[in-house]
């Protein structure tokens, strides 16, 4: 027994063993790999479309409009139609642009957005990998998107694009800090970085001295608020959309993009909404659990959320997607309500409000963890 293992044993830390994914069928590596990729891609391409449609309709109704009504029943196929339109559009590249960088920048932004979905648990057993560093992985991979945006802004050979790209980069760096700090507090409380492990830890978290099960939303309401705001800023969603502020910068780093590349940037944004919401669901809202303390129908295992039959799995996925929809609805709601911040207000808000608050949150959680 090594020193580390002894230390682990002393600290009560168990060695990590990944929870198996339901998508692993038998011993076939390739079959399960293809299945996982298919599921991840399906989620990546379908759920953002639903979120986008929801945004159209919610924004419309909140602004006394109807939103899309023509494509499909109540405009439900509007984004599909948009996608077809984007594919048909001419792919313009400005003559002064840096061709290669301009061409690959949307891909650099989009690929990390896909990769995040690999570790997000959508239901009992419905995940690509239960990665030991899942939370860290999601935040780390997400930070690469910055590079794609900066590349696009610089390569467009357009001052609006450049300013937009710089703003985006500054904003993403500034808000990554509170995001990660809030995430660390959750990891601290759960004792693991694995997203599945965090869900499990929430199902077995009780108010000290009682039998009342709670999600991390309640002890970490401050952290949740910080994470939510920082996530909106990370995604450059209004009211934090300074990088594409259309009244000042035309369309920021996307100004010169058309057709499929533009669609890739947009898909990145909406997929980011979905993945950030899914992260919040996992970190604060108990993953696929119906309600705190309520065992999932058709499930057994630890905290009554694993070892599910078909009903439990279906219900779990539905609950997760429902929570994601709820959170994205909150984002859209904030978008229609608040005006855009100014660039200096944005930076000030991050460094002078969110970062100290997230440090405070972390300290509170650490002390509480030590005490109880």
């Amino acid at each position: 027994m090594s020193i580390a293992e002894m230390a682990n044993a002393a600290a009560g830390l168990a060695q990590f063993s990944p929870a198996p994914s339901l998508l692993e069928i038998g011993d076939s590596f390739w079959l399960s790999a293809v299945l996982k990729i298919a599921v991840v891609l399906a989620v990546f391409f379908v759920v953002p479309l639903v979120v986008g449609y929801m945004e159209h309709k919610v924004m419309g109704h909140q602004q006394a409009r109807l939103g899309p009504m023509e494509a499909g029943p109540h405009g439900s196929l509007q984004l599909v139609a948009d996608g077809i339109k984007f594919i048909q559009k001419e792919d313009l590249i400005p003559s002064a642009a840096d061709k290669w960088v301009f061409a690959i920048a949307p891909g650099v932004a989009m690929v990390p957005a896909i990769l995040i979905f690999l570790v997000l648990p959508l239901g009992p057993g419905i995940w690509g990998v239960d990665f030991e560093l899942g939370l860290f992985y999601a935040l780390a991979v997400g930070s690469v998107t910055t590079l794609g945006i900066l590349m696009g802004g610089w390569a467009s050979a357009n001052k609006f694009s450049l300013i937009g790209g710089l703003r985006a980069a500054a904003q993403l760096i500034a808000y990554e800090l509170p995001l990660i700090l809030a995430g660390i507090a959750v990891a601290l409380q759960a004792g693991t970085l694995s997203l599945v492990g965090i869900v499990e830890a929430q199902s077995t978290f009780f108010i000290p001295g009682t039998e009342i099960n709670l999600w991390y939303l309640f002890p970490q309401i401050l952290g949740f608020g910080i994470f939510f705001i920082a996530a909106m800023a990370e995604l450059a969603r209004p009211p934090f959309d300074m990088p594409i502020a259309d009244s000042e910068l035309v369309f920021g780093y996307m100004t010169e993009y058309t057709g499929i590349k533009y669609a890739m940037y947009m898909l990145t944004e909406y997929a980011g909404m979905v993945s950030m919401s899914a992260l919040m669901v996992v970190l604060y809202l108990g993953g696929w659990q119906l309600l705190p303390g309520v065992p999932m129908p058709g499930c057994g295992g630890s905290g009554n959320i694993f070892d599910c039959n078909a009903l439990g799995v279906g219900l779990g996925v539905a609950v997760t997607l429902g929570k994601i929809m709820l959170l994205t609805f909150l984002m859209v709601w904030a978008r229609t309500t608040y005006p855009r911040l100014r660039e200096d207000q944005l930076q000030r808000f991050s460094w002078l409000v969110l970062v100290p608050l997230s440090l405070l949150n972390l300290a509170i959680i650490a002390v509480a963890k030590g005490v109880f």
């Binding site: 919610v58 419309g60 109704h61 909140q62 602004q63 006394a64 409009r65 109807l66 009504m69 709601w333 904030a334 229609t336 309500t337 608040y338």
Partner: protein, 396 residues
Amino acid sequence: MATTSPPGVGLLKGLGVTIKQMFKPAVTQQYPHVKPDLPPRTRGVIALMDENCTVCMLCSRECPDWCIYIDSHKETVPPAKEGGRARTRNVLDRFAIDFALCMYCGICVEVCPFDALFWSPEFEYSEYDIDKLLHEKGKLREWMDTVPPPPALDEGADAPGEVATAIEKANQELEAAKAKAAEEARAKEQGEQAPAAGDAAAAAPAEPEVKAGEIDQETFDRLIAEGKSERIARSKAKAAYVKKEKQRLKEQAEQQAAAAPAAEEPKVEAGEIDQETFDQLIAEGKSERMARAKAKAAYVKKQKAKLRAEAEQAGGGDAVEAPAAEGSGEAAAGEAAPSAAPRKADIEVEGAGEIDQETYDALIASGKSERIARSKAKAAWVRKKKQEQMDAEGDA
């Protein structure tokens, strides 16, 4: 001092506003599926009633965008009367409005003196090609069908100017004829002749009015079935109804006439139309509006002729005189009337726009301007008339 609320309350209030708005009904109009509810006199597009156009070019000249194109040629019209002068008139060849240039100011509609241009509420005439927005008179004429009828007059309002004039004129002539008839009757009475026709005329039942606005359902259905537009069908059906009604009334009148041969129409009703003329014009493809106007004129003319004939009948052997009196024109009629009914003379004399030809010629010859000459001649005419009237009174 403004009341301060704890920070964040404003943010929540904002969220409340948007969420409340979300459950209120939207104000969107689903346009292509639901037609907009436009005000009745909406200015959508300019329609042309080409029969009314006299190629005066006023619209084209007033147009700030110069978007009206008019071509015409002159035609010589044979003299209306034997020995008269042949006249020329303009015939419209082309009337086009370029709606790509038009700014919908409506000056052309305002300026048209002959009611040839109208605002139509039609607005769905967009094109993919800007060239196709140049619309010729055929298309402009089609839009005429979408022009709503003029708004109804207020209760108790004066009749429109042209109608009032027509009525007045007809009444004048009627009065003149009556007066003449009465005079003749008096003359005859003096010669111990038959009783006055005038009384009989007064006693005769008036022709019942034909209600405008009713349509002949049969005709309407048939036309709709033929694919005519609803408006055209309606107008034709109206005409058909009027025709039928007139036919019926005529038969009735004939029956009455057979019963009372002396019956005649006491008064020329304004608004009545001559069905024959109307039908003929409609059959010629003239617009309903035009046909109606002409038919009205024709009716008035006919009525006059009828009255005259009756007067002649009543006058018996003096028939030779009457045409001569008519032939001397309206002045003669106007002159005759005051002698019979002096109380109306002042008004009629003042209201008339007749000029004294002698005075006019003299003034023109002495180098006065046409305008002055005309006004002085008018004054002279009135003076003369009054003189005559006074003389007549003196005679009486």
